[in-house]
């Protein structure tokens, strides 16, 4: 910084003290507002069954009790409701393969669209992108009809996790392709030319130039897909009518819709369902943001 600009900065009238106080007060007030549901979520889940009352919703718990979490996780045979443990594991078995598959597929598509443009690729790309904005209601009836008819080596796609994986991988093509295409578009053409001169072909360029540079792209895409697949309800509720195969969002909705399940158990269940994506957000928030921005087409 030159002396001149430093002078300029110093000459900027520093805001009044009380203005700063108001500023921070407003920011803190909003933070409290945003955290309010989390407070209820965490506090309610930690109360003992004796102290759970809707009329004391805002009171802190008397101590740490994990009974609600246990009940939400294991269910209760006596009261006749299922726990979320099966649903949680279903979501894991669904989300991990679907995320990996769609990231790999998106990477290949992005590579071709960024570096191997062909005639019509300019028309193709927006047509591809439109697929991520459509209301899935408009493809749901044919999707169910099609999945019901497909049976690969005895694996039925309708009502099963493989069917859900298929749906998420296919309808994930637009967003994963978009993110990778924008990511690869920033790789300098000189790098590719250089590797061409070294004799690399279409596969070699991908393997030795683009793929090694892809880690941040993969992280962004995988976080995006992980979050949206974990949080999906529409596909899950439509494709998996069988309780044994239902992911966590459907399990939680069933739990919450049942009149026999106490509300503290519902709250504990909500936290269990939210935890994986919350953890991803807390530890990898930076990349989460980049995915968000790509989602609004500003890659």
């Amino acid at each position: 910084m030159t002396t001149q600009t430093r002078e300029l900065r110093r000459s900027i009238k520093p805001p009044f003290r009380w203005q700063r106080v108001v500023l921070y007060a407003v920011l803190v007030a909003f933070a409290v507002l945003y955290l309010m549901p989390v407070y209820v979520l965490v506090v309610t889940g930690m109360k003992s069954f004796a102290e759970v009352s809707l009329y004391r919703m805002w009171d802190p718990p008397s101590g740490l009790h994990f009974d609600s979490y246990a009940k939400a996780w294991f269910g209760s045979e006596a009261e006749g409701f299922r726990g979320l443990n099966v649903n949680f594991m279903n979501s894991v078995y669904l989300t991990i393969p679907a995320t990996i598959l769609s990231a790999m597929w998106g990477s290949i598509n992005g590579y071709i669209l960024a570096k191997w443009k062909f005639r019509g690729s300019n028309v193709l790309f927006p047509l591809l992108l439109f697929g991520m904005f459509i209301p899935y209601q408009s493809i749901l009836i044919p999707l169910v009809q099609t999945l019901q008819k497909i049976n690969i080596f005895g694996v039925r796609l309708y009502g099963s996790i493989p069917g859900l994986i298929l749906a998420h991988v296919i309808y994930g093509i637009p967003i994963t392709t978009l993110i990778f295409r924008n990511y690869y578009a920033n790789v300098p053409t000189e790098l590719i030319e250089a590797s061409r001169i070294d004799g690399a072909n279409i596969f070699g360029i991908y393997r030795h130039v683009l793929f090694p540079l892809s880690l941040p792209g993969f992280v962004v895409v995988m976080i995006w897909q992980f979050t949206s697949i974990w949080n999906d309800f529409l596909f899950a509720a439509t494709i998996t009518s069988n309780p044994e195969a239902q992911p966590i969002t459907v399990g939680l909705n069933n739990l919450a819709g049942s009149y026999i399940v106490e509300w503290n158990v519902q709250m504990a269940g909500s936290l269990i369902a939210a935890l994986p994506t919350l953890l991803v957000y807390i530890f990898l928030g930076r990349f989460f943001m980049r995915g968000l921005m790509a989602g609004s087409l500003k890659g």
Binding site: L8, Y34, M57, F118, L127, F130, F133, I202
Partner: protein, 304 residues
């Protein structure tokens, strides 16, 4: 035309599976749904006898039950979209503006405003259903109403989603909680792209802070506002999960929306052709919003 070399062929072969998948699962299926909406398929087993546009006609005919429900749905969608959009834009812009004042702990504030985005609408719905549960007259208030009582703001108490008049507003509150951080993040990124000197020059010229916001910042952030309106708008037209988890269709369909009606009538009522018609109307609504934006973004990005 350039020589057709083997790498060209391979590149086409590599992109082909995605192109075919999208052609079939997006465009083919939309065509299938559109066709189904013209048939009399009204039970579990498909019946592809064409009957023209009568499914659509009935949806816009207020003498039929489905017509009445659909009109309430459309009104709800408009109300919800307006409330949700305005709330997200105003709160998002305000928070971005405040956070741009060289705030200590900016990262923490940003994370707090943004974290609801990482959560499923189902979780949001379940939590807010309890928060906005008004409680009873005899037994006392619960949730936010109880909080109002405790803070001496009892006059603010309302029936939230149990009140048919404002039910959809309660859903918009939950949706705003979840998505306003997203607008904040977009506006903040936009603000950071405005050169500091621009605002400084205006300040030196004696412009007030409010004038700077109105005359410089808002016009420069217009593209961000447009993007936010498009993204939030299409989410709001499609809103479904939140309704399922929070309220369901409500008393007198007070919180019903087309996406919910579609699922309900198709997969619970087996009125497949009616569901297909609603789905196509929903698609057209989203397309009206998205297609111009898509074309515009592609053009301005140029030379893709």
């Amino acid at each position: 035309m350039p020589r057709l070399n083997w790498e060209r062929v391979v590149s086409i072969l590599l992109i082909a599976p995605a192109v075919i998948a999208i052609a079939v699962f997006v465009y083919g299926f939309i065509g299938w749904t559109a066709y189904a909406s013209l048939t009399k398929w009204d039970q579990l087993l498909p019946d592809f006898t064409l009957i023209g546009f009568s499914n659509y006609q009935k949806l816009f005919d207020s003498s039929t039950l489905q017509g009445q429900r659909f009109q309430i749905d459309l009104r709800n969608t408009v109300t919800f979209t307006l409330l949700f959009l305005i709330a997200c834009l105003v709160i998002g812009f305000l928070l971005a503006l405040l956070l741009d004042q060289r705030i200590r702990g900016e990262g923490i504030f940003r994370s707090i405003y943004l974290f609801p985005m990482s959560i499923s609408f189902i979780v949001t719905g379940v939590v807010w259903r309890w928060l906005l549960n008004p409680g009873g007259v005899e037994l006392g208030s619960t949730g936010v109403n109880l909080l109002f009582d405790m803070l001496g703001l009892g006059f603010l108490k309302t029936g939230w989603y149990t009140d048919p008049k404002i039910g959809i507003m309660a859903v918009a509150i939950a949706a705003t909680w979840q998505m306003s951080g997203y607008t904040m993040a977009m506006y903040l990124a936009g603000l950071r792209a405005i050169p500091y000197e621009l605002r400084e020059a205006a300040r030196v010229d004696g412009a007030s802070e409010l004038q700077i916001v109105r005359r410089i910042i808002l016009p420069l952030l217009q593209p961000v506002t447009l993007s936010a309106v498009i993204v939030l708008g299409h989410i709001s037209l499609k809103i479904y999960d939140l309704i399922v988890a929070m309220t369901g269709p409500g008393i007198g369909f007070a919180t019903d929306v087309p996406a919910y009606f579609m699922w309900d009538t198709t997969f619970r009522g087996n009125h497949f052709s009616r569901g297909a018609a609603i789905a196509i109307i929903l698609l057209v609504m989203v397309a009206v919003l998205i297609v111009p934006y898509l074309v515009h973004s592609i053009r301005t990005e140029a030379e893709l």
